[in-house]
Amino acid sequence: MIDLKIKAYELRKDIVTLIYNAGCGHIGGDLSVIDILVVLYYKHLNCSPETIDHPDRDRFVLSKGHAAEALYCVLADRGFFPKSDLDNYSGFKSKYIGHPNNEVNGIEVNTGSLGHGLSVAVGMAIAGKMDNKDYRVYTVLGDGELDEGSIWEGVMAASHYQLDNLTAIVDRNNLQITGWTKDVMSQDRLEDRWAAFGWYVITIPGNDVDAIDRAIEKAKNIKGKPTVIIANTIKGCGVSFMENQAGWHHRVPNDEEYAKAMEELEAKLEKLRRVS
């Protein structure tokens, strides 16, 4: 069993390096969501490079598609494609672009236009129910993304069809591109909103892999309704000067910042390796 905490920090280094080299990327959201992706891809999703087209595989939709770098780094590390494929990330003719592209191995559907992923996941979950399949469907949403009205159409339908094979995870980092969500469009009493629509709600510290793991496991046992995990995360988590800064939504680190970020992440990794 791999150490998920260590994995998440190793991948943070990959993400920061990818963005530094490519000169583009959504670094803040990548670093806030990475722990969730690690727990899904290394612990829960029964989807691997070998089962990529298997009808019984679990489905994952990254509805907050701008965190594509985090997903690509996870997929590469899990062997869905060679890590070297990312050398031309966002470059001329690359299929590894700034939002998930389903020409890439392991990516089910294209996302990037916010507010679509949950409804697509609802369709996948309904298909699973129709065919009496055991697979589960997961989707990760941004909290800024919840401004989209179409999200609430999906929320309604998932509850109406009692999709207990569907788990939505909200990367609740309280920030969106312009600033704090409470200033842009408040999402207060977020748990109540989902609960009022008929969802089972679990709130967790969203950068804590153990808490994420427990919540996902718990969701598997909730019957008759879909589950949402409100993951209270920190945008830019793991790099001190990027944390909780709207400015790091898609800023690219300069040489100095890159060196400092890598130094911080390496120091954290050493600490984690010592305790494990």
Partner: protein
């Protein structure tokens, strides 16, 4: 005149096919009645998904189903389907390349007195401009059946527009020439060409007959395949006849006529193309027939346009 609307034919085909193919799924947005799909919902409840009045959700859920091997047919009024969920169609269906068949029902101006909110006079323009999206507008019940059966055999996205009311037959039992993505030539002629789609094909056919009485041999083409358009038929007509008149139930910008003009301008630039279409203003109130007549889209209006075109020396 037959009393079966094209949308009813779609229901009949899906009803029958769904018995043997459990992957066929029909989705409606509180629109099963208007889509004539109530019978499908009642007969195959396990293959029917109601999403409520939520067209965006309708399309995204369809895409999710398709990505899991289902063959979804999403039916909603063409006006809402093509405009309100254009974004979902672009991303979740066309770009993700999911096998979703979008049924735009009661298209064009067939809602009559319900007004511009319910007309879909922009759907060709919106749908055809999306890469990987195909657009079909069948003319009568016979062609609709052939088209739906053909579409059931492929796994690519498509938008199909049908009208609300029963339309007159263009074809007849046992005489329904149909080749996928090839226009159907209803009448051969070398003087002038009429290219129509959907409910206006019958008007073009009639205009062709009226012109014959006047000694003018019109070629009449049923261009049900708007995209991919049958370019060969267009180029051939442009080369072999003296001019082309397009007739469609759509705004004059970005419709079937625009697409024909584009092909002709590039390949046979000396041939003149005139687009008969709805005006760039809110459409007047009336039954389809009345509105078509008002805007010169009925057979008499088409004949008049042909005579004008010929008088102008082309």
């Amino acid at each position: 005149m037959n009393k079966i609307a094209n949308k009813q034919v779609i229901c009949d085909v899906l009803l029958e096919e769904a018995k043997n193919d459990k992957d066929i799924v029909v989705l409606c947005s509180d629109s099963r009645g208007s889509a004539s799909l109530t019978e499908f919902a009642n007969t195959h409840p396990d293959q029917f998904v109601e999403v409520g009045v939520a067209e965006q959700n309708l399309v995204s859920i369809s895409a999710g189903l398709a990505s899991c091997g289902k063959k979804p047919f999403a039916a909603s009024p063409a006006c809402f389907l093509s405009m309100r969920s254009a974004e979902q169609i672009k991303v979740d269906v066309a770009y993700s390349n999911t096998n979703v068949k979008l049924l735009g029902i009661s298209g064009g101006i067939s809602y009559g007195a319900l007004g511009m909110t319910h007309h879909s006079t922009n759907d060709i323009a919106v749908m055809a401009s999306i890469p990987n999206m195909r657009v079909y507008i069948p003319s009568d019940r016979f062609q609709t059946e052939k088209l739906i059966r053909a579409l059931l055999k492929d796994e690519k996205p498509a938008f199909i527009r049908v009208g609300r009311n029963p339309v007159e037959d263009v074809y007849s039992e046992g005489n329904v020439p149909f080749e996928m993505d090839k226009a159907t030539i209803l009448q051969q002629g070398n003087d002038i060409t009429l290219i129509a789609c959907g409910e206006l094909v019958i008007e073009a056919k009639r205009a062709g007959e009226k012109l014959k009485e006047k000694g003018i041999n019109a070629r009449v083409i049923d261009m049900y395949c708007i995209k991919p358009m049958d370019r060969e038929a267009v180029v051939k007509a442009a080369k072999e006849t003296k001019g082309i008149i397009t007739i469609e139930e759509h705004t004059r910008f970005g419709g079937m006529g625009s697409m024909v003009s584009q092909i002709v301008a590039a390949q046979v630039p000396n041939t003149r193309v005139v687009n008969l279409a709805l005006p760039d203003t809110p459409v007047i109130t009336g039954k389809s027939k009345e509105v078509f007549k008002h805007y010169g889209l009925d057979s008499d209006g088409i004949v008049k346009s042909v005579l004008e075109m010929m008088k102008n020396g082309q």
